[in-house]
Structures are given as structure tokens and as C-alpha cells.
């Protein structure tokens, strides 16, 4: 290899005049985290609603849940973001489309909502599986106690189901963080985007992507550790999720 390593590059000023190259990567990391957290909140809210709907006796609810999951799960994320960002505004009435296009930070909102919906389909399936894995008697017991369907879910089924699916939810959260990298296709210059900018400016490809890799690994290590603590904190001794 005829490559000139230069690890000092991170401390050299970047050509955008926003500090060093390291600052550039860190600003990308902040954007990655913001996008991932917002997307994860959306995914949890919509995923929970749709996941519950898929387990309700109502046919209409089940059908809606089915459509939601299949729509968001079956299209590549890259294609979805492109559709939301470039195609959707063209389909709207002209004024609405123009408003949407000129929204400040349009790539950020599109990415967070797009990734959130995409991940919500996965969360929904996980939650459905969690609820289905509970013994049938749980639901019956809730009804026998005189709880309404809402109360039954709120006080009996969901607390158990969420405990069961915490470990797979952790990996879904990690996926959400990694999926934010796709947002460069709609011009969101997050961590991967900044690493690309850095290599274009300085031609120090390997340093840029090594740094990005390490930052992703660090963030994911933090998430994994935090989720472990959460699992231990909510565990109930004697149940399958607690020992």
C-alpha cells in the first residue's frame, strides 16, 4: 500500500472554518444522535400502537396493523427516504408541496420521521410476538378481574410483553442508530456524511472512516450498557425475564 497515514489530521483545521476535522465529525455525531433518538421515540409510539392493534380481536384493527407493517417493512429504507423527501412533495397540491420543501431542516425531519416509521413496523412485530407469547390465561384473568380491554393491556399484558421484548428492542435501537447513515441520501450530513466530507477534503480516507467506526461503536456500547441496566431494573423475580 502506498498510503500516507496521518493521524494528526483530526487536529488540523477543516476547510469549512468550523474548527478541526474532529469537530466536523463530532457535529456529525450530534446530528446522528438527534436523528436516532427522535426516530426511536416515533418508532416506540407508533410501533406500540400498531403492535397492540395486531393483537386486538377487531378485524379492522388487525387489518390496519397488517398493512402498516407490510408497507414499512417491505421497502428498502433508502427507497422510503427518497420517496418521502423527493416524491411526496410533488404529489401534494403545489402550495403544500412548496411549504414542505422549504421547511427549514427538511432533511432532518424527513430522516427522523422516515426512519421512525420504518423502525415502528419492526417494533410492532416484536411487541405482537411479545403479547402473543404470554399465556392466554393472563388476558382472561384481566377480564375476570373486571378490567376493560384498555386496562387489561395497560396493567397486565403490556408490562409483561415489554419486559419480554426488551433484549430484541435493544438491537432495534442499535439498528435505528445505524440506519441514520442512510439519511445522507437526502442530504443530512450526519456522522457518515461528515466522514465522507472529510475524506473528500483531505483525501485521508482511512482515518476518517476509522474515526466514524469508533464513534459508532462507542455510542452503541453506551446504548447496550444502558439497556442492560434497564433490563435488570425492571426485571421481576420469578418471571421468564427475571431470575
Amino acid at each position: 500500500m502506498n498510503y500516507h497515514w496521518n493521524w494528526g489530521i483530526f487536529f488540523e483545521p477543516n476547510p469549512m472554518g468550523t474548527g478541526t476535522y474532529l469537530d466536523m465529525l463530532l457535529s456529525g455525531l450530534v446530528l446522528t444522535l438527534k436523528t436516532a433518538v427522535l426516530a426511536w421515540i416515533i418508532a416506540l409510539i407508533f410501533g406500540s400502537i400498531v403492535g397492540v392493534m395486531r393483537t386486538l380481536p377487531s378485524k379492522a384493527a388487525g387489518w390496519f396493523g397488517f398493512c402498516w407493517v407490510e408497507f414499512f417493512r417491505n421497502m428498502p429504507l433508502l427507497v422510503q427516504l427518497f420517496l418521502w423527501f423527493f416524491v411526496l412533495p410533488e404529489l401534494l397540491p403545489k402550495a403544500a408541496g412548496l411549504w414542505l420543501k422549504q421547511l427549514p431542516n427538511a432533511p432532518f425531519w424527513t430522516a427522523a420521521i422516515g426512519i421512525g416509521f420504518f423502525m415502528s413496523a419492526r417494533v410492532a412485530v416484536q411487541l405482537q410476538a411479545g403479547i402473543s407469547s404470554l399465556p392466554r390465561g393472563q388476558k382472561m384473568a384481566a377480564t375476570a378481574l373486571g378490567l376493560t380491554t384498555v386496562q387489561g393491556y395497560r396493567y397486565v399484558l403490556l408490562p409483561m410483553a415489554f419486559r419480554i421484548i426488551l433484549p430484541p428492542l435493544t438491537s432495534e435501537f442499535l439498528n435505528t442508530i445505524k440506519n441514520t447513515a442512510v439519511a445522507i441520501t437526502i442530504g443530512l450530513i450526519e456522522l457518515t456524511g461528515q466522514a465522507r466530507s472529510m475524506q473528500e477534503f483531505s483525501f485521508q480516507v482511512f482515518e476518517a472512516f476509522t474515526a466514524a467506526t469508533i464513534l459508532y461503536l462507542l455510542v452503541n456500547a453506551v446504548v447496550v450498557t444502558a439497556m442492560r441496566y434497564l433490563e435488570r431494573y425492571v426485571a421481576i423475580p420469578g418471571y421468564i425475564t427475571g431470575k
Binding site: Y3, G187, R196, S197, F203, Q204, V205
Partner: protein, 303 residues
């Protein structure tokens, strides 16, 4: 007497050639001689420098220059046959592929600047381009100052977005600068009215406009954000022997007037695959450069 001088020159020439021949081959040249093959890196959509035609074959201004270099290498190494391998590169892969020896020459539209010279070398400049912006005729922009408070797009990681950012501060334009992933996407932003202007190398803008659905709707600004910057064919750093051959080949090409001919073929005539005509006659700066070839990364050296 005249005869004697000729013979003397011929003798001297023979002596020089045999000297060169006796020199131990190193680096890329040795590799080419050993393998009987040279690998060119090409871009798939850098019109008209290096792109795929309708047969998926890479063509373009930079490709033509590279083939001339290949001829010179073949002659230098006295090879009967030199296989030319083609390898696609993107702006993200060109450096790793050059560094690990996959490609020997990168034939595209890579700006030669001082930062990049820390990593790679460039041969004589084959194009000079200034940073300008494209906008829709209907938006009625006239100068850089008209971009005040508007949304302007440029491609992330380019020298252009850097110049735009600098101008934004220096002229206190307060423009909202958004980075795009690539040129096609940035142009799409202007096409769909997400941004009023796209700042990029003027030649790339010309090809995007020529290839758009309605070329007549777009205008490229007279105002420029920068002095014309040089494009060069990229090669590995610290390979003096190979660079010497490549530099000699490009210098001979440009000074002989053949460079101008190749230029006209790609910039003032219809080009494949769609028969677009970029209508960009050679600039005075490039004409001077062709007369006195240079591999300087400094825009001030090209007047």
C-alpha cells in the same frame, strides 16, 4: 558540417535513451512491465470527462488523455502489447484504490489541490474550472449578492461548498446552505425548487443543464466564487519514474495541438450517448496552460 551535427545529436539521443533503458525500473512502471497490463480508473457519470456511453463503455475527455498516456507507457517500456484494464471508481473509492495499487491512473474530474498532493500526485492540468451557480431563469437572480437569505445547495465534501460557505460569511449573505450527497441530487434540489441555486464547477453545471429535461430553463451565473481551479489525472505519489513518463506524454499531447482537438471533440461537438453539445469553447486560461503545461495545484499559476 550540418550532417555531422545531426549525427552528433542522434548519437547523443541514443546515449540518453540507452541510459534511460539501463535505469532500473521501479514502482508502477516495473509493475506494468511485469504484468503487461495497466489499470485505468474511470467515473461512471462525470460528463464529459469520464462516463459510460450507451454500450456501458467508459468514454470522455479524460479517458482520451489516459489512452494517450497508455500509448506513451507502451512505447517507453518497448512493449508489443499492453493490456488496458478498466476499473470504476467513485470519489469515495479513488484514493484507496490508488493507494492499494488497484488503479494506476485515475481519469476523471479530480481537482488538483495542495491538500490532496499530500496523498497523491497529479500530471499536467487538463481542465480549469471556476465555481459558479446554476439557477432557474424564472428566479431572476443576477449576482452572488442576489443569493441573500436564499436556500443554496452544493455537494458535500467539495471545494465548492467550502467557497460558498466562505462567501456567505465574507459577504454576510445569510444564505441557508444545504449540502447534497452528489451532483445529481443537488441539481434535483434546484429542479424541484428546494433550493434556488446550486454552486458547483461550471463545467459540471453545463453538463447537468444540457442533460436536464428543459435545458432552456436554466442559467449559469457569470459571477464566480473562485479562480479557475485545475483538474488533473491522478497517479500514485512518490513514483518519479512513472510521473516523468506520464508528464512527458501529457505535455507532448497538449503542446502539439492534439490536446485542443480532443478538447473540441468533447466540449464543442455532440457527444454520446444522447448527442448533447456542451457548447463550452476552450478558455483563455486553459489555452495558456496547454501551451505551457503545468501540474501546479495553485490557481494563481494559471493566468
Amino acid at each position: 558540417m550540418k550532417h555531422f551535427r545531426h549525427i552528433g545529436l542522434a548519437l547523443a539521443a541514443t546515449f540518453v535513451v540507452s541510459q534511460a533503458g539501463a535505469e532500473e525500473l521501479t514502482g508502477t512502471l516495473k509493475n506494468i512491465k511485469d504484468t503487461g497490463a495497466i489499470t485505468l480508473g474511470f467515473r461512471d457519470s462525470s460528463i464529459p470527462f469520464s462516463y459510460l456511453d450507451d454500450n456501458q463503455k467508459p468514454v470522455g475527455f479524460a479517458m482520451d488523455i489516459c489512452y494517450k498516456i497508455v500509448d506513451a507507457v507502451k512505447k517507453e517500456l518497448k512493449l508489443d502489447k499492453l493490456e488496458v484494464k478498466l476499473n470504476p471508481v467513485t470519489s469515495a473509492t479513488r484514493i484507496p484504490l490508488m493507494a492499494n495499487g488497484t488503479i494506476d491512473l485515475e481519469c476523471g474530474s479530480t481537482t488538483n489541490n495542495a491538500d490532496r498532493q499530500k496523498q497523491v500526485a497529479f500530471t499536467n492540468t487538463h481542465y480549469l474550472t471556476a465555481s459558479r451557480y446554476v439557477f432557474k431563469k424564472s428566479s431572476g437572480l443576477k449576482s452572488i449578492d442576489d443569493l441573500k437569505g436564499k436556500t443554496v445547495v452544493s455537494t458535500a465534501g467539495t471545494t465548492n461548498i467550502k467557497q460558498l460557505t466562505e462567501a456567505n460569511v465574507a459577504k454576510s449573505l445569510g444564505a441557508n446552505i444545504i449540502p447534497a450527497k452528489d451532483h445529481a441530487e443537488a441539481f434535483l434540489m434546484v429542479e424541484t425548487d428546494r433550493a434556488v441555486a446550486f454552486v458547483m464547477d461550471d463545467v459540471l453545471l453545463a453538463s447537468l443543464v444540457a442533460g436536464s429535461k428543459t435545458p432552456d430553463d436554466y442559467v449559469i451565473s457569470k459571477d464566480a466564487f473562485s479562480k479557475p481551479e485545475p483538474y488533473g489525472i491522478m497517479l500514485r505519489k512518490d513514483d518519479a519514474q512513472f510521473k516523468k513518463v506520464v508528464d512527458a506524454a501529457t505535455a507532448a499531447l497538449y503542446t502539439s495541438g492534439e490536446g485542443q482537438k480532443i478538447y473540441d471533440k468533447w466540449f464543442t461537438a455532440k457527444i454520446p450517448p444522447k448527442g448533447l453539445n456542451l457548447n463550452t469553447p476552450i478558455s483563455a486560461e486553459l489555452k495558456n496552460e496547454f501551451a505551457k503545461p503545468s501540474d501546479s495545484p495553485n490557481p494563481d499559476d494559471y493566468k
